[in-house]
């Protein structure tokens, strides 16, 4: 399940559920059409606090949106990242590309 809201020129997308090929497709379609229809949005924040599982399909859609935002001259960040999800972000190298806020760090603040 996806929830979209905007905060100034940032689109905030909250994902709930397993980020596998089904949710990745929904994410791509929903976010891309939203961005297309709201050209003034520059940045993308993805809240993964409702995501306990992510595989390479999830990574693919995140990397794809990263490229999209970079082409717009904006940035992308992930928050609410749990240990399992962080691990695959690390293994794939996606971690190095964007700001990632982990669940524990956020709780500590």
């Amino acid at each position: 399940m996806l929830q979209l809201r905007t905060d100034d020129d940032t689109l905030v997308v909250s994902v709930v559920g397993d980020l596998d090929m089904v949710v990745a497709k929904e994410f791509r379609e929903t976010v891309d059409s939203y961005l297309f229809n709201h050209q003034w949005i520059k940045h993308l924040m993805v809240d993964l606090s409702g995501v306990n599982f992510m595989d390479s399909s999830g990574l693919g859609v995140i990397l794809g949106r990263y490229k999209l935002m970079r082409n717009r001259g904006g940035q992308m960040a992930l928050c609410g990242v749990n240990d399992g999800v962080y691990r695959v972000l690390e293994l794939s190298g996606v971690k190095k590309l964007m700001v990632i806020l982990r669940t524990a760090e956020e709780k500590a603040q």
């Binding site: 596998d20 599982f53 595989d55 399909s57 293994l91």
Partner: protein, 149 residues
């Protein structure tokens, strides 16, 4: 020694069934002493193989069948995922990190299967299908050395 077991699943090639495969794996592994992080990793490996069958094997056509076997024998888990799809022309190349034949795919599926399981075997024939077999030892979690990662 763990109790041996075998479960076979046959799935229609729709994306929603990847979650069903993962859930069934979770239930299958319940009677074994698998840590939560290990379970997560095995679920990723399975998810990669099943997604590959649906996305690449059947080109996202929903009328294919994916056959899955979960087995434990002699404290070793075997997961077998098989499709009757297009097949892989060059298996070695397909297994290389970052190799993908599809847009918006990172080419990480086989990397994850390899990383999260002990053994990975891929058999494929063009126009016939693909079978991925993965194995992982289930015992001696404390005794084994920490995974270098």
């Amino acid at each position: 020694m763990y109790k041996d077991n075998v479960v076979k699943l046959e799935l229609k090639s729709i994306g929603e069934n990847v979650a069903i495969a993962r859930m069934t794996l979770g239930s299958f592994l319940m009677m074994y002493d698998v840590s939560l992080s290990e379970l997560d990793e095995i679920k990723i490996a399975l998810s990669e193989a099943v997604s590959n069958s649906i996305i690449h094997g059947y080109g996202n056509h929903e009328d294919g069948v994916v056959r899955i076997i979960f087995a434990v024998q002699n404290d070793e888990l075997t997961i077998c995922v098989e499709d009757d799809g297009v097949g892989i022309s060059n298996i070695e190349q397909a297994m290389e990190p970052a190799f993908s034949t599809k847009m918006e795919h990172m080419g990480l599926g086989f990397v994850f299967m390899q990383t999260f399981m002990d053994k990975l075997m891929v058999e494929s024939e063009i126009g016939v299908g693909t079978r991925v077999t993965m194995q992982k030892a289930l015992l001696n979690q404390e005794a084994s050395e920490p995974q270098a990662m």
